[in-house]
């Protein structure tokens, strides 16, 4: 899923300082799963903002709504009758949400309440970790199902750098060296020879380096 973190309250307060009537829109997709932008978090943000503004003596009127998804015109459409009732709209979806909203409602002001961080999964409740960098050409089968592009700090394709120590990456003792894990699994599986093979430079045209991407599937296009 796409993982995100809530922006600091002060940053959000600054964004909306000139407005008095706000709609906060959550999303039931990834950001609900990673507990950052679902209906519950919408409620918490609404209450926090109201407290802050009440304290300033400039009470804020806030309505709450959570859409099925914000990355789909079908659901984005659902606010068309109320969108004009607000001075500004805060989206708690990943970076896609506020963009889809802005495109659909060009006359309204939209603000992001979360920082979209990575594609990952939950290690346990409350802890998420990056797994994929969306490079557009998946190669994890060469590496025992582990992605060195997203998970090695230097995206190395030919083995661990000289900074790998005790299973940890040179950038931090809190970050696993993915190459340590790849090598160990290859050894356990008796496939170390795979790693002796030279892996040529990656073709990055399918990643963001090739420019903004689009996926067209003719069989679905109507």
């Amino acid at each position: 899923m796409i993982v995100a973190d809530r922006k600091p309250l002060q940053e959000i307060l600054e964004m909306i300082k000139d407005f008095n009537k706000i709609l906060i829109i959550g999303c039931k997709g990834c950001v609900t799963v990673c507990n950052v932008g679902g209906s519950k978090e919408v409620g918490i943000l609404a209450s926090s903002l109201k407290i802050a503004r009440k304290k300033e003596g400039r009470p804020l009127e806030i309505d709450e709504k959570t859409l099925e998804r914000q990355c789909d015109p079908e659901y984005v459409d659902q606010i068309k009758d109320i969108v004009n009732d607000y001075d500004a709209i805060i989206s708690m979806a990943c970076g896609v949400g506020p963009q889809f909203l802005s495109e659909r409602y060009p006359d309204s002001r939209f603000f992001p309440a979360v920082n979209t961080t990575f594609f990952g999964g939950a290690l346990q409740h409350g802890i998420w970790e990056e797994r994929c960098a969306g490079c557009g050409t998946c190669v994890i089968h060469y590496f025992e199902g582990m992605c060195p592009i997203a998970r090695c700090a230097k995206s190395l394709l030919n083995g661990p750098c000289g900074g790998s120590a005790g299973g940890k990456c040179e950038i931090s003792k809190d970050v696993d060296c993915i190459w340590d894990l790849i090598v160990k699994k290859k050894m356990e599986q008796g496939r170390l020879d795979d790693l002796l093979e030279f892996r040529p430079a990656k073709d990055w045209t399918t990643s963001r380096d090739g420019g903004p991407r689009k996926s067209v599937r003719e069989e679905l296009v109507q």
């Binding site: 600091p8 309250l9 002060q10 409620g43 209450s47 926090s48 109201k50 802050a52 304290k55």
Partner: protein, 114 residues
């Protein structure tokens, strides 16, 4: 058993403090409470394993939120006591009342000149 505790404390009963949500605490402040605290079982004695530990973390979250918007985090607190400790319950209520009196009314209740 009748124990005297300050009448300014409004008690809301929940089956387990694990049921107390961040939003409950925030809403209390938002609606004008000068302080709000959670009285849970002793740590390690939760019937639902870790309800009181979850409550503590949520209280911490709310403290942080208040701090971010410039409100004294001490207005929100977590206490732990064993289920049968009536006197301790009353003591905590007095303690919290005292604390809030010292802090004064919530900034949300102070009328600002426009």
């Amino acid at each position: 058993m009748r124990l005297s505790y300050p009448s300014n404390v409004k008690i809301i009963q929940v089956p387990c403090t694990g049921r107390v949500d961040i939003l409950h605490l925030l809403r209390a402040i938002e609606d004008g409470a000068d302080g709000v605290y959670v009285a849970g079982c002793l740590e390690g004695e939760c019937h639902f394993i870790d309800g009181n530990l979850k409550a503590r973390k949520r209280v911490q979250y709310v403290k942080k939120t208040l701090e971010e918007v410039g409100i004294e985090p001490e207005r929100v607190e977590m206490f732990n006591l064993s289920a049968g400790e009536g006197p301790r319950f009353a003591e905590i209520a007095r303690e919290m009342s005292e604390r809030i009196k010292e802090l004064g009314p919530s900034p949300l209740n102070v009328k600002k000149a426009a």
